[in-house]
């Protein structure tokens, strides 16, 4: 996998999403359908380490989004 290109692809795909800012890991698998889920998982983790992405947690479920995008507290779709 070309890591840099995949990272750019992920960031661009996330920027295009309207209304939602936080996604399941499985949504990231779909963005890079040709890669093994495990490789995508590792890349997403790396992007969290690099502070491009960040985790959001309800306590029982974890979602992932672009750092700083969407709300810090509470879930999407609330206003």
């Amino acid at each position: 996998m070309d890591e840099e290109a995949t990272k750019t692809l992920i960031v661009e795909t996330l920027k295009k999403k309207k209304g939602k800012s936080k996604f399941y890991l499985k949504d990231f698998y779909k963005m890079v359908p040709d890669e093994k889920p495990r490789a995508v998982k590792n890349l997403v983790n790396q992007m969290v380490q690099e502070e491009t992405l960040e985790y959001w947690s309800s306590g029982s479920t974890t979602l992932i989004g672009l750092k700083g995008v969407g709300k810090q507290a509470a879930a999407d779709g609330e206003d």
């Binding site: 959001w56 947690s57 309800s58 306590g59 509470a74």
Partner: protein, 440 residues
């Protein structure tokens, strides 16, 4: 007298019952924080406990919660262990505007030394609300309530000074938990603490970096008494068992019958239940009717015994678990959030529990994770996936052979489809040959 900002007539009623109340606990912590006898340099809002009571009172009044759900908080490098909680009335209750929960890995078997407990509490009074939940449903230590800037500080002190890690939360491996096992309990069929610790260390990545469809729990019980209720609460339960005979000390059996030894180690001594009746209380209650007593000798028909522990619990001095010990593995237990509560289903009747536990890791845990991570829907627990795709699919991905012990009830799924390569000769058929003998 310490003042309380908020009047709390509704939740004060919770203090009037016969039991200790968390309302009284929170009030005590507020008094302690205001009086500050130890001269603590509080890094988190000193009045948080008062505000916590206030927001709860308001919720009781409104019949609605005033907490938002979820948030982006964590410590660097970890995706679990911190759960963001924010109050939706921060002006009214500034002390709990941020009130994040931290999950801390508990010591195996819940063994604490006093100085370790004091260290934990000193840290949490200084950098958090001072309120804890010992222990949460998952079994870990829960620190209730601190602000975002304190998270890294707490994490640093925990890991550097107290030598303790955060636990799991979110879509990851939750803090594994175990019974005290061989450290104190003669029933333990394997070393629960060693195994639990080993699995915690082996799966650090799964614990700290959420990559599962939903939460996943391991629990370790040393025997079928299930003191940590692994069978009901964990996606994979490891329950100690044995496959040889229950060891019988016939002399001790007679001592129970003769009244020299108290049944259940005297646990039912509070009332006079009359003389111990081995026929009624042990033989007659054996669920598989595999025991017999002729007045002088107790016999057990081992192949029928399901190791329910009843007889051993009643006469622990006379009966002991066997010597060929290991564990059973059950999969899929969960609480009712979606789709009803479920107990674990037996998937491995017996497996040896021996360091470095490679067989369990490579043949049980990892194939199941691979399947669930691939096929599980978002927020679908392993038990729900087993229900959706069937036990047969689970057996296929793990390569386990189906055995009669796996059937936990008369079959609830009537369909078992053989695959062609599982049937000798397959089932290619020649339709023309068939029509020669069967009219349309």
């Amino acid at each position: 007298m310490v003042e309380f900002k908020h009047k709390t007539p509704l939740i004060d009623q919770l203090e009037t019952g016969p039991w200790t109340s968390f309302v009284s606990d929170i009030k005590r912590e507020h008094e302690s924080r205001m009086e500050n006898p130890k001269g603590i340099d509080y890094q988190f809002n000193q009045e948080c406990c008062d505000d916590l009571l206030g927001v709860l009172e308001l919720s009781y009044d409104h019949g609605r919660t005033h907490w938002k759900h979820g948030g982006i908080v964590g410590v660097f490098g970890y995706g679990g262990g911190v759960i963001g909680r924010y109050c939706d009335q921060p002006e009214m209750f500034p002390g709990v505007a941020h009130f994040h929960t931290m999950r801390v890995n508990q010591p195996m078997g819940h063994y604490y030394k006093t100085d370790y407990l004091e260290q934990l509490m000193d840290l949490w009074e200084r950098r958090g609300s001072g309120l804890t939940n010992m222990h949460g449903a998952t079994g870990d230590i829960i620190f209730l309530g601190t602000s975002t800037p304190q998270l890294e500080e707490v994490f640093y002190e925990l890991t550097h000074n107290i030598n303790q890690d955060l636990g799991g939360s979110g879509s990851n491996l939750r803090t594994p938990s175990d019974c005290m096992g061989q450290s104190m309990c003669e029933y333990a069929c394997y070393d629960t603490q060693e195994f639990c610790y080993n699995m915690t260390m082996e799966y650090q990545d799964e614990l700290h970096r959420p990559a599962f469809p939903y939460k996943f729990k391991f629990k370790f019980d040393g025997c079928p008494n299930c003191c940590v209720a692994a069978i009901a609460r964990s996606d994979l339960s490891f329950i100690g068992t044995w496959r040889d005979d229950i060891r019988i000390d016939q002399k001790a059996v007679k001592a129970y019958v003769g009244g020299e030894l108290k049944p259940n180690a005297g646990a039912h001594a509070g009332r006079d239940w009359g003389a111990f009746d081995i026929q009624k209380e042990v033989i007659g209650l054996c669920p598989t009717e595999c025991m017999s007593w002729d007045g002088s000798k107790l016999e057990i028909n081992t192949p029928e015994c399901t190791r329910c522990m009843h007889c051993i619990n009643v006469m622990p001095r006379a009966l002991r678990v066997g010597l060929d010990t290991g564990c059973s593995v059950l999969a899929g237990a969960k609480a009712p959030i979606l789709d009803g509560a479920q107990m674990g289903t037996l998937i491995v009747p017996f497996i040896k529990v021996e360091e470095p536990y490679d067989e369990i890791k490579e043949k049980v845990v990892e194939p199941i994770w691979d399947w669930w991570m691939e096929e599980g829907k978002n927020r679908e627990r392993l038990g729900e996936l087993i229900k959706r795709q069937g036990m047969q699919k689970l057996l296929e991905v793990t390569n386990f052979k189906a055995v009669p012990q796996m059937i936990k009830e008369p079959r609830s799924n009537p369909y078992v489809f053989w695959k062609e390569d599982e049937v000798p000769g397959g089932w290619k058929r020649d339709i023309n040959e068939f029509r020669k003998h069967h009219q349309r």
